[in-house]
Amino acid sequence: MEYDQPRTLFEKIWQSHVVREQAGEPALLYVDLHLVHEVTSPQAFDGLRIADRSVRRTDLTVAVMDHNTPTWDLSLPVKDPIAKQQLDALEKNCDEFGVELYDRFSPLQGIVHIIAPEQGRTQPGKIIVCGDSHTSTHGAFGAFALGIGTSEVEHVLATQTLRQKKPLTMEINIDGQAPTGVSAKDIILGIIGRIGVAGAAGHVIEYTGQAITDLSMEGRMTVCNMSIEAGARAGMVAPDQTTFDYIRGRSHAPKDSEFQNATEQWSRLRSDPGSVYDARVTIEAKDLEPFITWGTNPGMVIPVTDKIPNPNNAIDETEKESWERALRYMDLKPDIPITDVSIDRVFIGSCTNARIEDIRAAATVAKGKKVNDQVYAMVVPGSVAVKEQAENEGLDRILIEAGFDWRVAGCSMCLGMNPDILQPKERCASTSNRNFEGRQGKGGRTHLVSPQMAAAAAIEGKFVDIRDW
């Protein structure tokens, strides 16, 4: 087909996946990769069973146990009987429907959004879905990757397609070079602080600008991961040499001449000059700083140099009330510097920040230092592969010597479905993506930060500006 209009990256992917389109109906899109995990899939497999349906494309479907697997000694049994029931159900379902599964002992196990890129399954131009909102992570490769609900999981299992209303597009341009001490996590926290938790609702974000293209694939994944925290349907970055270099040689990547062909195709996956987005935001990279969330959603965020906001400065009654409620929940006083706030726990992990670069960043900060006596700090690598690589580089030794707990891979305290949870009132510096009430444990208080900031906070026992550290 010839297109006379310049098209955005998103439109190119969308148009090449439409199976059927009728006015007044959401389009039917073909799915190239379907990732499955234990929490959002049992009811979907049950639905198939009841209707006597099969999995249409087992070759495009892969499952992993990650959300409630214990992240300590693998030789111990799963103590929680209900978690065990869910893990067993996934195993049984995969067996019955012929879906490849990485169970908790697999050398390929890890958080679903970390292992798919690691294996080279995540590729530019694909439509990737998973019953998990942080599927947006895979957009870092120039894929259209989106989270879906369990009924949609069942729909994709049965038909390999997804019904979607076409989203709008939004360009977020991070112009110029990011200052030292400002990580990918700070870029995305800064974006959410600027546009708000519903700022990109109904839109697919394309991140552009030097501060984005300068990022490694790990960093781009961190940014795209939290697109959902700005309300976006998905986030994406156009593929470039950084992307191709990351994919080359991975187990599911195209080989030899096929790889050559693929990169030629992938190189065309960029927004044409003059293509039109429904919305545009520009942020000057030089204005970004290390950020910390102070409240109970990721939009409640301030630079480390700032003070806790005062509800009297809220723009309206609704905001005032939500700030007051957040301050009460977080047990914080307005107008005090965030660097005066001390912490009890540190969690370095999750699909936002548990890739090898994140572990390296934490180890660099922790080297030769000791975790504060008041703090319990843990590092949970995102996958078995990340864990092994970190161990090969000796990062585990550095972290353990500094007093960090070094765990096996999984989601762990990102959502506290496994035994790692915050106790009521405990305050945690966390590299994960959600600071919602009770997310990391009922009554627990979460502050989202970068791995560098989390590691430094572990050592000081309170928040510090990584730039003066």
């Binding site: 992917i13 148009q15 090449s16 996946h17 199976v19 059927r20 007044g24 109906e25 959401p26 039917l28 073909y30 190239d32 929490v39 959002t40 049992p42 009811q43 049950d46 209707a51 495009l60 209900i82 029931q85 869910q86 590729q123 530019p124 131009g125 694909k126 019953g131 998990d132 909102s133 989270g147 879906i148 609900g149 009924s151 949609e152 729909h155 049965a158 038909t159 390999q160 397609t161 019904r163 209303k165 989203p167 938790v197 519903a198 959902i228 309300g231 096929e258 195709q265 065309r268 996956l269 959603n297 609704t318 939500s322 479905m417 009521p424 959600r434 919602f436 009430e437 009922k442 009554g443």
Partner: protein, 204 residues
């Protein structure tokens, strides 16, 4: 799925913006492998105090909202996690309709899969509904999906809402999306046969 054509129900207010799915159904209840039985855990951490007793401050615990089937809520309702357990819990508790100025995308989609109607209404209308549900006892709304219209008992608040034809039709007929898609089996197989042609970016 139970068809949704017309519904009249008691309105309960939830006057907060950005209510996330971690609040609607906290993660400790996601380990079940069924679709039912989540209503008892709806808004668990807000509904119950630390000792497990009912929190009398929380709106849904007030006697006057017992049996409510319509929830009027603040903007960006259902943000965060994609968990479909959120609409399952709302449905199981008895909600058939949620009215808010805006919804998070995944949650909005998930509602339709379970026969819940999410209505997007202008801010001022939602505020009026919330206020009236507080000031008027036994405050009810009527929702007519066929005519895309809602009104309250004394016809003080009357408004039209929008919904795409496909969603409206599926809800009204209680149709299951998978069944509909399977009628297009030939489109899917044809697409699969020519997959490599679609920009050539779909190969594994």
């Amino acid at each position: 799925m139970e068809p949704f054509i017309k519904h009249t129900g008691l309105v309960a207010p939830m006057d907060r913006a950005n209510v996330d799915t971690d609040q609607i159904i906290p993660k400790q209840f996601l380990k079940r492998i069924e679709r039912t039985g989540y209503g008892q855990f709806l808004f668990n951490d807000w509904r119950f105090k630390e000792d497990g007793s009912l929190n009398p401050e929380f709106e849904l615990n007030k006697n006057r909202y017992k049996g409510a089937s319509i929830l009027a809520a603040g903007s960006n309702f259902g943000s965060g996690s994609s968990r479909e357990h959120a609409p399952w819990a709302l449905m199981d508790y008895g909600f058939r309709c949620i009215i808010a100025p805006s919804f998070a995308d995944i949650f909005y989609n998930n509602c339709f899969q379970n026969g819940i109607l999410p209505i997007i209404a202008p801010d001022n209308i939602v505020v009026d509904i919330i206020n009236k549900s507080r000031s008027t006892s036994n405050y009810k709304l009527n929702v007519d999906l066929k005519n895309l219209k809602a009104w309250d008992q004394d016809e003080d608040i009357v408004f039209q809402f929008k919904l795409d034809e496909f969603r409206r039709n599926s809800l009204m007929n209680g149709l299951d999306d998978i069944g509909i898609t399977m009628q297009h089996e030939s489109d899917i197989s044809n697409f699969e046969k020519t997959r490599h042609k679609h920009g050539g970016v779909l190969r594994d």
